[in-house]
Symmetry: C2
Subunit: 346 residues, 2 copies
């Protein structure tokens, strides 16, 4: 079934329908554009999220622990995930919207061309019909004048009081008007033939061709909406395996978290290498040699124990050990003078 034959008298409706169709295609384009914008905003927010959770300079030391390292890896994956949504947005714009916009323009141009052609053909037929009506009017007028001339001649011919010259004048007039009527009739017949030929041509091939083109245009539009939807879905589906990989990457990041390892790392980080204080010795003053009788020394408390378990002599530990030891010496040094106090952080 073709618009050309079935809808020969629906020019206006087809004009409106094809316009609505192209508007609808454009509307779908806007939908795709807005969808891409949403993907883009989503990606931006994920990126901003990741950025705001990056470890600060002062916390960098913490990132030796597996949970912190995992979190950093997790954020990298979320960043990649954001990237995939950007890919969706970009491809929706580049592969779908760009083509769609170009097609919309082509369809609008082609529709205008076809409608103009239809209008032109119709106007052309109308002009021919006007011409036909004019020739018919002329034929009507010439026929009436001819009839009147015949009547006048007959009246003159029957009037014996009139001169032959006068009768002859009426005959000549009748002959003249009859000839004029024949000419008008011929012209009318000629115009009628032209009109009917043009009208047949108009309704059998001229307009049907225009409408066929409009139908083709509409089919092209519809077929392409279908393809654009397929293409948009494909765009989204294409990133699926990569998004899945990102999620697997997050799982893998979590896999490295090892609570035992992390607490051992705490030992390595903070161990001073010292042994806990040993027993206070008993100072029997009666056996004392009297030197420094007032001091109570815990002689073993500053004996450093190296991490490899070996013993070392006082004063051979490294700089960092000394730093740690200084704190210990402080505590022990202040023993008996001030209390050993530990601060409990909130």
């Amino acid at each position: 079934m073709s618009w050309g034959t079935e809808l020969w008298d629906q020019f206006e409706n087809l004009s409106a329908h094809t316009l609505k169709g192209i508007d609808f295609l454009e509307k779908y384009g806007h939908f795709v554009r807005d969808r891409a914008t949403i993907e883009c905003e989503y990606a931006n927010k994920l990126r901003k999220l990741v950025k705001s959770y990056q470890p600060k300079k002062k916390d960098e030391e913490e990132y030796q622990y597996s949970s912190c390292r995992a979190f950093k890896l997790l954020m990298d994956e979320v960043n990649d995930l954001a990237g995939q949504h950007e890919v969706v947005a970009e491809n929706l714009l580049a592969n779908v919207l760009k083509e769609l916009t170009a097609l919309t323009k082509d369809l609008r141009d082609e529709r205008k061309r076809q409608l103009y052609e239809g209008s032109r053909l119709t106007q052309s037929l109308q002009n021919q019909i006007d011409e036909l009506f004019r020739s018919k009017k002329a034929y009507d007028k010439a026929f009436k004048e001819s009839e009147k001339a015949i009547e006048n001649f007959q009246k003159a011919d029957a009037d014996y009081n009139l001169s032959r010259a006068e009768v002859e004048k009426q005959r000549l007039n009748m002959s003249y008007k009859s000839q004029a009527c024949d000419t008008a009739k011929n012209h009318y017949a000629d115009q009628l033939q032209r009109t009917n030929e043009l009208q047949r041509q108009h309704y059998r091939s001229g307009l049907p061709e225009v409408f066929r083109q409009l139908q083709e245009l509409d089919e092209k539009r519809i077929k392409n909406i279908k393809n654009f939807i397929y293409s948009a879905v494909e765009t989204e589906k294409n990133v699926f395996p990569i998004i899945n990989k990102c999620l697997d990457g997050i799982t893998k990041a979590a896999d490295i978290i090892d609570e035992k390892q992390d607490t051992i790392l705490v030992i390595e980080r903070f161990k001073s290498g010292f042994n806990p204080p040993e027993d206070y010795p008993f100072e029997d003053l009666s056996k004392s040699n009297g030197s420094n009788p007032g001091s109570l020394q815990n002689v073993n408390s500053i004996q450093p124990r190296l991490k490899d378990g070996g013993l070392t002599v006082k004063g051979t530990f490294s700089g960092s050990k000394i730093k740690k030891r200084a704190g210990i010496l402080n505590i022990f040094g202040s023993r008996g003078v001030s209390s050993v106090c530990f601060f409990i952080s909130p």
Copy 2:
């Protein structure tokens, strides 16, 4: 390796480390919360998008065409897709963040409890050490006084000028001071024993138990971060098949688009049922009966043709046909008077 034995002198560092750890857990919780917010906003935007593209009342007639119907189905799927992101957001909040927040609170409480216990034990040891130092000082003092008393007695005993009563007084004093010194020495010895016992207990079991608890707390925290990450990934992965179904649904929606069917529908919608105008007949006025000689009628132009191809008699068509026909009659009625003009929409 245990914090209790290895980090016996790192109370403050462990206090700071466990605090940072819990803060980190909380930070991950904020990350999850922010992530859920992003999912929620994304879903909201998709829903708003769908809402804004719903067909308007005035366009409802257009939605009989397959491309429009497909677009409506597509939007339903996008709505479902939005719903899946809402599910992710909800489950992140309900399954991950809620548990994480509860755990954070528990860990903070437990940490405070352990640190308080550590502080209490340390203070207790310190008090005992203070007591030891006081007893040692008393012993020092008593010893000095005893030595002085001995010296005084010896001095008195050697001085023949002194009375025996005086010498006896010094002996008694010596004996008294010596006894006092013994008592002080015993008290000191007693305090020394208590102190060493408490100190051993403190460094061998008291403090190690506190640190062991802190280590357990830290391991629990780390292990749970791992589980929360797994849970969050699972939450996202769970909606994957459904999101995939939504995309398949969009493909299926596109599948129903049928451009041939749609253009046939246009025929069904707009077809008037009339035949194109037939030829204008030749009106030979010389053979005319004279009635209405000035009109040029296209007698066949309003002969309706039914869709089933049959012919019907003038005036038997239905209401809708009449409406369409009215337009046509208008056009034909105006023929020859005004031009047949078609509007070309922009």
